[in-house]
Amino acid sequence: MAFLNEFKSAGFGDATLIRTLRNARTFNPKVVVAEVRAKRDITPYAAIEKRVLEGNTMAASCPITLDTTRLKDEVSTIYSQVATDPDGDFHFHRGPGYAAEYLGYDRSELAALPDVSTACFAGVGNPHSIGPIETGETVLDIGCGAGMDLLLAAKRVGSSGHAIGIDMTAAMRERALGSARSAGISHVEVRAGDAEALPVGDASVDVVISNGVLNLVPDKRKAYSEIARVLRPGGRLHLADIAVEVPLDEDIRNDIDLWTG
């Protein structure tokens, strides 16, 4: 039933029809009332979000020649202020309107994608405007979610290419696959996995894309190392993520030679 599937696609894997009734509300006998009970999945993604909410690390790595501890602490503090709120009340932009207006995505390209892939989009940048993706290439989307960026990439590589999405969450993988099916795109594959251990062979990818996901990964060195491993020599990374542009202290600025040294 379509109504149940709408819940399942949104992270309510356990959605059941309690009953249908004749409707007392309209005079149209073809319209009945459906009563649904839907239970929210308990997923690893929820655990990650909880860690972010509790103000966990976004610590960007820094040149070893600087006071990295101090800088890391500053960055962590800043990020936790963004990720949490004393009132526990925040929400980020989502969806195709946001993607077009804030991140420069092409509205008509988004309109051509299935709603289920665009409605929950919550990226922070636009991997597709970083550089070209050519026909026939293999693209990997790390943290593909419901598949918006993945499908855009699949369209760019065409049927002679290959688009692989990785996500930790079963519900997200299902949405991404479902979206690919609705869009009639068959050269898309979605695999379970996480950024620290990509289920992808060495030097097998032309372009890695990712949007708003790597800031949640605890071991960033491992994540970047994996990206380097799966990319072919000369392969490209088109990454969109949150960054803190920390204003530099006097003494840090004085160490600027060490940055370039």
Binding site: F3, S9, F12, A24, V31, A34, H91
Partner: protein
């Protein structure tokens, strides 16, 4: 997007008209009669403020059949004049709370009045669209929705928001009108027929 916004405005107008003049000829059955037909117990309805009951526009008796343990944080999405809100408030008790959300000022005004009359201290009412909820992630235990999906041109986003605000393992109880068979082409293009 123009069509979607036009539909949203049309819906808001119709529900506002019901809120403001519930005894005028509404486009569909409303009020006490409808509530009884839908299975709200009459003696329960007797305990609720008229200001909620007379403008009731739900499609089923959601707050009656939903599982609402005491102490739950409940979201009534599309709360209208607050009938389900007040029933949920009683069921969750003082240790719980209910957040009533609606996009119609007129309906929300009724709900607020009813909340005050019923002295329901565990309820807050907020004006918002269902696709952008002023609610933190994973903070709701139970959502009750009494027939709003068909009315919202951004319906897919509502499911997304529900996924965001309901805590892992939390529950949604939703009632909605669905087609038991396909409509004719003619009915599909009629703008006043919201179920196409």
């Amino acid at each position: 997007m123009n069509n979607r916004e036009a539909k949203r405005d049309g819906v808001k107008q119709a529900y506002t008209a019901i809120a403001e003049h519930p005894y005028n000829e509404p486009p569909f059955p409303t009020g006490r009669g409808l509530a009884e037909n839908l299975g709200y117990p009459p003696d329960l309805l007797d305990t609720l403020p008229d200001v909620s009951v007379e403008a009731f526009c739900g499609v089923s008796n959601v707050s009656v059949f939903a599982e609402i343990p005491e102490g739950s944080t409940v979201l009534d999405l599309g709360a209208g004049a607050g009938l389900d809100t007040l029933i949920a408030a009683k069921r969750t008790g003082k240790s719980g709370k209910v957040i009533a959300i609606d996009f119609s000022e007129a309906m929300l005004a009724r709900a607020r009045q009813a909340i005050s009359e019923a002295q329901a201290t565990n309820v807050e009412a907020q004006l918002a669209d269902a696709e952008t909820l002023p609610i933190a992630d994973a903070s709701v235990d139970v959502v009750i929705v009494n027939g709003i999906f068909n009315l919202n041109p951004y319906r897919e986003r509502i499911f997304c928001e529900l996924g965001r605000v309901v805590r892992p393992g939390g529950l949604v109880f939703a009632a909605e009108l669905i087609l038991s068979s396909a409509f004719t082409q003619e009915q599909r293009s009629d703008n006043t027929n919201w179920f196409s």
